[in-house]
Amino acid sequence: MTDFLAMHGYAAYVWPAYAVFAIVLFADAIAPVFARRRILRDIAARARRAASRKSP
């Protein structure tokens, strides 16, 4: 197992490469989740604002 992890001396290159792949794509995948939450909040806020504009 340690042999496998060592990658015959190339561990310092191989594992970071796989890590970058995983981290970047993971970040990319969760970004829309946050964006969606923010936008739903914005829409709700805008609806409230529009409602308070009509009242006077």
């Binding site: 015959h8 794509l25 995948a29 970004a31 969606r36 936008i39 709700a44 409230r48």
Partner: protein, 253 residues
């Protein structure tokens, strides 16, 4: 009308696409995960070490699929941008802009993994060879598109301006792809070919192709997720979006 054309028409309507994409996203992510699991198993365990490069060649299994996706995403963006400019279809604008950050992510991974591969094989993290340079230009083009899109206030106008830029940048794609042929450089020549025979052993090839499938599926899953969010923003005044909000938020007049 031809049923396929009809289906495309329907797909072009934001609420329909919203629910259509919502249905497909879990499947696409699922397939991508399964294919990636198989692919990585093959890449790390079954593929034999390269006789020249040793185990460092295993970087190929992230490098090459991501490189392909970086180019594919740009092409996808440009085609949708073209449709958006000519026929002004909202969904195409959305898809074009949604594919930019994903493409940029793949291009970024390509550059980083390429660097990580270059250090042991070429002895340097970076050189200014034609493929590497044009790939860097590709990343800058993505940044330009994204930057332009976010710098303009009106969403639709922003999408059209950015799509225009994306179209201008298409000239870079053949340069990236053919640079290894047009200029003789440090970077690996074309080794995998879908049409002709590939210059690579099958036990090395199948994990690569599986991972290519995984990244494609991932691309569409992420694309759909981003497009759904963008549509929500674009159509925030429309009834179908209001209907998605919690009940207390919808106004009654």
């Amino acid at each position: 009308m031809n049923p396929l054309v009809l289906w495309f028409h329907k797909l072009g309507s934001p609420p329909y696409f919203y629910s259509f994409a919502g249905r497909w996203i879990p499947w696409l992510y699922g397939i991508a995960l399964v294919a990636a699991a198989f692919g990585f198993y093959g890449a790390l365990f079954t593929a034999p070490a390269d006789y020249q490069q040793g185990d460092s060649f295993r970087i190929m299994y992230v490098h090459v699929p991501c490189a392909w996706m970086g180019l594919f995403a740009y092409l996808f963006m440009a085609v949708n941008g073209f449709i958006a400019l000519v026929w002004r279809i909202k969904l195409s604008e959305t898809l074009a802009m949604a594919s930019a950050p994903i493409g940029a992510a793949f291009t970024f991974i390509t550059l980083v993994t390429g660097s990580l591969w270059g250090k042991p094989t070429w002895g340097t993290w970076w050189t200014w060879d034609a493929r590497l340079t044009s790939e860097l230009v590709l990343l800058f083009l993505y940044f330009g598109v994204i930057g332009l899109y976010h710098a303009i206030e009106d969403r639709r106008q922003a999408a059209r301006a950015a799509a225009f830029l994306a179209l201008i940048g298409v000239v870079n794609l053949p340069i990236v792809h053919y640079s290894v042929i047009w200029w003789n450089t440090l970077h690996q020549g074309q080794t995998v070919s879908l049409i002709g025979p590939s210059k690579i052993a099958p036990s090395m090839l199948w994990p690569l192709l599986t991972l290519a499938i995984a990244t494609h599926m991932y691309f569409f899953a992420s694309l759909f997720a981003r497009a759904r969010v963008a549509l929500l923003e674009l159509e925030s005044g429309k009834e179908w979006v209001r209907a998605l909000l919690p009940v207390t938020e919808t106004s009654h007049d």
